[in-house]
């Protein structure tokens, strides 16, 4: 489809290597942290751009985030997206998946689309919820964790890996599809494209612009507190002959770990 309008939902996250630390108030410290496009979202961006390159069409990026997200939006633009839309209001700082989905769904009324792509989950909170909630709010079909995608006419043909094998699904457009690793290998943007990305349009909307108000946004989840997992204890190597070692292992699993 030559004029396919692809909208990719993108979230900015910490790098996967980042060591998450909490301050005295139990809040995440972001000092010295590098931000990236959430890797699954990046697969979606890459796939969209490959489709844009293969058959024309246009790729837009939509994110919910403060102006700190501009840096990662530029990466998606440098990869080849045509334009970006960012929605922000300070009250969204603590937004849960429901609120984020509501904001995205409202913003999508302003952005034309035939196909919505997103990562299957953001690597920070791993909630897997936003694309599904967006689909729900807009009454669009949803396929999660796809590894292959092709569009002909107004139908998308997708594949997804399941425990039972590969599933092939045909879904009418417009639809929301979320990316699994393997959908596309993200490119490393070239320098001329990085330069061009600096000049590509980034549309910024406040809540009012998309017909929402802070008061109308009700969270579905309330965060009570954050804590980091206890550091892993060192492993133990049990010596002796295999027979002895197995006996000792079983004893420890029974008496110390109490799992048997």
């Amino acid at each position: 489809m030559a004029d396919l309008k692809i909208l990719v939902l993108v979230k900015q996250t910490f790098t996967t290597e980042a060591r998450i630390q909490l301050d005295a108030q139990g809040k995440i410290v972001d000092k010295g942290i590098k931000y990236v496009i959430s890797p699954y979202d990046e697969y979606a961006v890459e796939k969209a751009i490959q489709m844009q390159e293969a058959g024309g069409g246009i790729v837009r990026i939509l994110t919910v985030g403060s102006d700190k997200t501009l840096e990662t939006m530029r990466i998606a633009l440098a990869m080849g997206a045509a334009e970006a839309v960012r929605v922000w209001d300070p009250c969204l700082e603590t937004a849960d998946s429901q609120i984020t989905a509501q904001v995205i769904a409202a913003a999508m009324k302003k952005v034309p689309f035939d196909l919505v792509l997103a990562g299957k989950a953001a690597v920070d909170d791993q909630s897997y919820e936003v694309p599904a909630r967006v689909a729900g709010l807009l009454g669009l079909p949803l396929v999660n964790a796809i590894t292959s995608l092709s569009v002909s006419g107004t139908t998308a043909k997708v594949e997804r890996e399941t425990d039972a094998g590969k599933e092939t699904i045909e879904v009418p457009l417009p639809a929301v599809l979320t990316a699994e690793k393997g959908l596309a290998e993200p490119r490393y943007p070239t320098l001329p494209n990085i330069m061009k990305a600096k000049k590509k349009p980034v549309q910024v909307y406040g809540l009012g612009d998309i017909g929402l108000s802070a008061a109308a946004l009700k969270p579905a989840v309330q965060v009570l507190g954050l804590s980091t997992p206890a550091p892993r204890k060192g492993a133990a190597i049990i010596g002796g002959s295999p027979q002895e070692a197995v006996k000792e292992l079983v004893r420890r699993l029974k008496e110390e770990a109490k799992v048997l």
């Binding site: 790098t15 290597e17 060591r19 010295g32 590098k34 490393y188 070239t190 320098l191 990085i194 600096k198």
Partner: protein, 692 residues
């Protein structure tokens, strides 16, 4: 037709003028092709440039570094002496034998007998040199056709044929010279000089009873002149183009730091292209380089990629670049002059990257600099390779997934492994000594820049600890940046990612300037080179030391008294490319080894300036080595093991990784240890220093 008499002199003059005209026309073309290249200033420091010409051209300094080059030394000087004679011969061809000779002219000033002796001496030198050169040429034919050394291997049959034609042409000129000498004596014209021409005399004997030696002389003279003029026309189309390229190329050679890479203008936001994918995007000197290539192949037999069977050969690369610019030069010159040239013009068909030099070959280079170290013409291979890598990475986006991962890791975590940047200072907990942060000790004399390997590689963290302990014991005032330290950017830059390098470098320079750092100790030779050669381009001027230099100094001053570490027998030191060839630090690490070990220090066959790369330079540390018939690190560890050493000492984290892998793959990790020089010196934790 007796040379010099009418109408022979007219025939000669016409031939001469035509030959000169053809020669000059080619020369002009070659000049215009060079001018297609980008601007670069190479006119500074004239005395040094002239000195270089004397040393490398007249002295043939690099040529005679190997035995086969001695033959060339004589060919070169023989050619100089013969050329002086050729000018006399040409003059005689124009005005007649009787009317012009050096002997006569000198006679006016010096008197007849002195002039005859001087001229005779000149002839004697010519004959002696010619005899030596005939022998040298026969040896070189023997080399080319019987011995077939790897050095001369090239996949271009035309180049092989070319070399043979040249050798035969020179041989024929020498043989004809002897005949001319002989016939001159036989004809009586040079009888008084016969004592100066031993070979000529023998030939004169052969023609003693000949009726018309002068007539024979005329025939040989014409033949000789024909070959000579033909040679002149042929030179700029052959491997002998180096006769024209050598002097300017050596004159305009790079005089700056050996680690130099040309900067890229990253500020230009309208640029559609970065790096080099066409000949004219190189500098003019890069194009001149290709003319100077003698096709000797010294580069390739010192190239770790070529020697392990990979697609890269520096010789082949330069040779093919020359053919490429000769093929398209005319069209490019027309295009530059504003003429419309269709995109699909046949001369513009082949692409520099892909057709002339394979993408794989560009990736294979470890930037070890061995090619540049041996090139008798001082050709600069590395900036070309990095220029093409820049195009591949920055413009074409052709990045292997391994390189892409390393880039992302450097971007996100400021180290190629992608380990959390905030843990950069964690190695100090294992150092066994207090290591202050510069924020705690802002008046420290030195900043110890640990580098990514020193901070994150489990094996090399031990070396950082050893360095820290040695510095502390030696009373050196130093501090580290800890989490504020960033990747130096060497791998990014040498893999062609100038954009990423520039971001990393600027961050480090800014941090160091904020702490008002003046002196830096670097453990990784790659970081050392980056601080020394790359950062000044971005305004980062520091006094930079490698830990080997500091340790050597501490030992020499008695501040550090290492015990003689037990190295289990012989010990061999491996020169890291970026410490040795790039910065000529050969002795300091060896001095440290000698002072701090009880073993006999032995050398590998390839050592010092001829050291063989471990395979990890130029960003190759982060790439798989899939091509070729042998891994470079296996080849180098082979070479090290052959010395019988029980301990291999390095001064570079990449070399250490490669040797540890190599020793392990050779199943020798039980009896051969790989250590850094710092670990020999630092006695406190010697137990920990074994290979892991």
């Amino acid at each position: 037709m007796t040379p010099g008499e009418f109408p022979a002199n007219m025939v000669f003059l016409v031939c001469f003028v035509v030959a000169i005209a053809l020669f000059l026309r080619t020369l002009q073309k070659l000049y215009l092709y060079v001018r297609l290249g980008q601007d670069e200033k190479r006119f500074d420091n004239m005395p040094e440039r002239i000195k270089g010409v004397l040393l490398f051209v007249l002295g043939q300094k690099r040529v005679i570094q190997e035995t086969a080059g001695v033959g060339h030394f004589f060919i070169f000087w023989c050619f100089i002496f013969l050329s002086i004679g050729y000018m006399e011969s040409f003059a005689q061809g124009a005005v007649g034998m009787e009317n012009f000779s050096y002997e006569k002219i000198m006679g006016f000033v010096l008197g007849e007998s002195l002039s005859a002796s001087l001229y005779g001496l000149f002839l004697l030198v010519q004959e002696i040199l010619s005899v030596v050169v005939v022998a040298a040429l026969l040896i070189s034919l023997h080399r080319r056709y019987i011995v077939k050394p790897l050095r001369l291997k090239i996949d271009d049959p035309h180049a092989r044929m070319d070399a043979t034609i040249i050798i035969c042409l020179i041989l024929s000129l020498l043989v004809m010279l002897f005949f001319m000498h002989g016939l001159e004596i036989a004809g009586g014209r040079s009888k008084h000089l016969s004592a100066w021409m031993p070979v000529g005399n023998i030939i004169a004997g052969m023609f003693a009873s000949h009726k018309n030696p002068e007539g024979l002389y005329s025939i040989v003279w014409w033949l000789h002149t024909g070959v000579l003029l033909g040679f002149m026309v042929y030179i700029p189309h052959s491997k002998h183009m180096h006769l024209l390229g050598a002097v300017p190329n050596i004159f305009f050679r790079w005089l700056g730091k050996k680690g130099y890479l040309p900067p890229v203008n990253l500020e230009d936001e309208s640029a559609e292209k970065f790096g080099v994918s066409e000949m004219q995007e190189f500098t003019w000197k890069d194009i001149l380089d290709t003319y100077a290539c003698t096709e000797c192949g010294r580069c390739q037999v010192n190239c770790p990629a070529f020697l392990t069977g990979k697609p890269l050969s520096p010789f082949r690369m330069i040779h093919r670049m020359k053919l490429h610019i000769l093929e398209r030069g005319d069209v490019l010159v027309q295009k530059k002059a504003g003429k419309e040239i269709p995109e699909d013009h046949p001369a513009l068909k082949s692409a520099l990257i892909g057709d002339v030099i394979e993408k794989e070959a560009i990736e294979d280079c470890t930037t070890c600099r061995a090619c540049m170290e041996v090139c008798p013409e001082l050709i600069e291979h590395l900036p070309k390779i990095v220029g093409m890598r820049r195009y591949q990475v920055l413009t074409a986006g052709e990045i292997s997934s391994e390189a892409g991962l390393a880039f992302r890791n450097m971007e996100n975590a400021s180290n190629p492994w992608g380990i959390d940047a905030s843990s950069r200072g964690d190695w100090v907990s294992e150092a066994g000594v207090e290591v202050p942060l510069i924020s705690e000790k802002p008046d420290a004399e030195y900043l110890y820049y640990v580098g990514c390997a020193g901070a994150f590689d489990p094996r090399y963290k031990k070396v950082s600890g050893a360095v820290a302990r040695a510095l502390t014991e030696g009373g050196v005032s130093f501090a580290i940046l800890g989490p504020e330290e960033g990747c130096c950017g060497d791998s990014a830059r040498r893999l062609g990612n100038e954009y990423l390098y520039s971001a990393l470098a600027q961050q480090n320079i800014e941090t160091l300037k904020n702490y008002n750092v003046k002196k830096v100790i670097v453990s990784c030779p790659h970081g050392y080179n980056t601080f020394k050669c790359d950062y000044p381009q971005l305004g980062g001027e520091f006094e930079v030391y490698h830990h080997s230099e500091i340790l050597k100094d501490l030992i020499a001053k008695g501040k550090l008294k290492p015990q003689k570490a037990d190295v289990g027998g012989k010990v061999v030191y491996h020169d890291s490319c970026y410490l040795g060839r790039y910065h000529e630090i050969y002795d300091a690490p060896r001095d440290v080894v000698k002072a701090a070990s009880n073993g006999e220090l032995v050398e590998m066959e390839r050592t010092g300036p001829r050291s063989f790369c471990c395979g990890a330079g130029g960003g190759r540390m982060w790439l798989e080595e899939n091509r070729g018939d042998k891994k470079i690190y296996m080849e180098r560890s082979d070479q090290a093991l052959k010395t019988g050493a029980k301990t291999i000492v390095t001064a570079c984290p990449f070399c250490m990784t490669m040797f540890e892998d190599g020793v392990k793959e050779h199943k020798r990790q039980e009896d051969v240890k790989v250590l850094d020089i710092a670990e020999l010196v630092s006695p406190a934790k010697k137990k920990d220093t074994g290979a892991e």
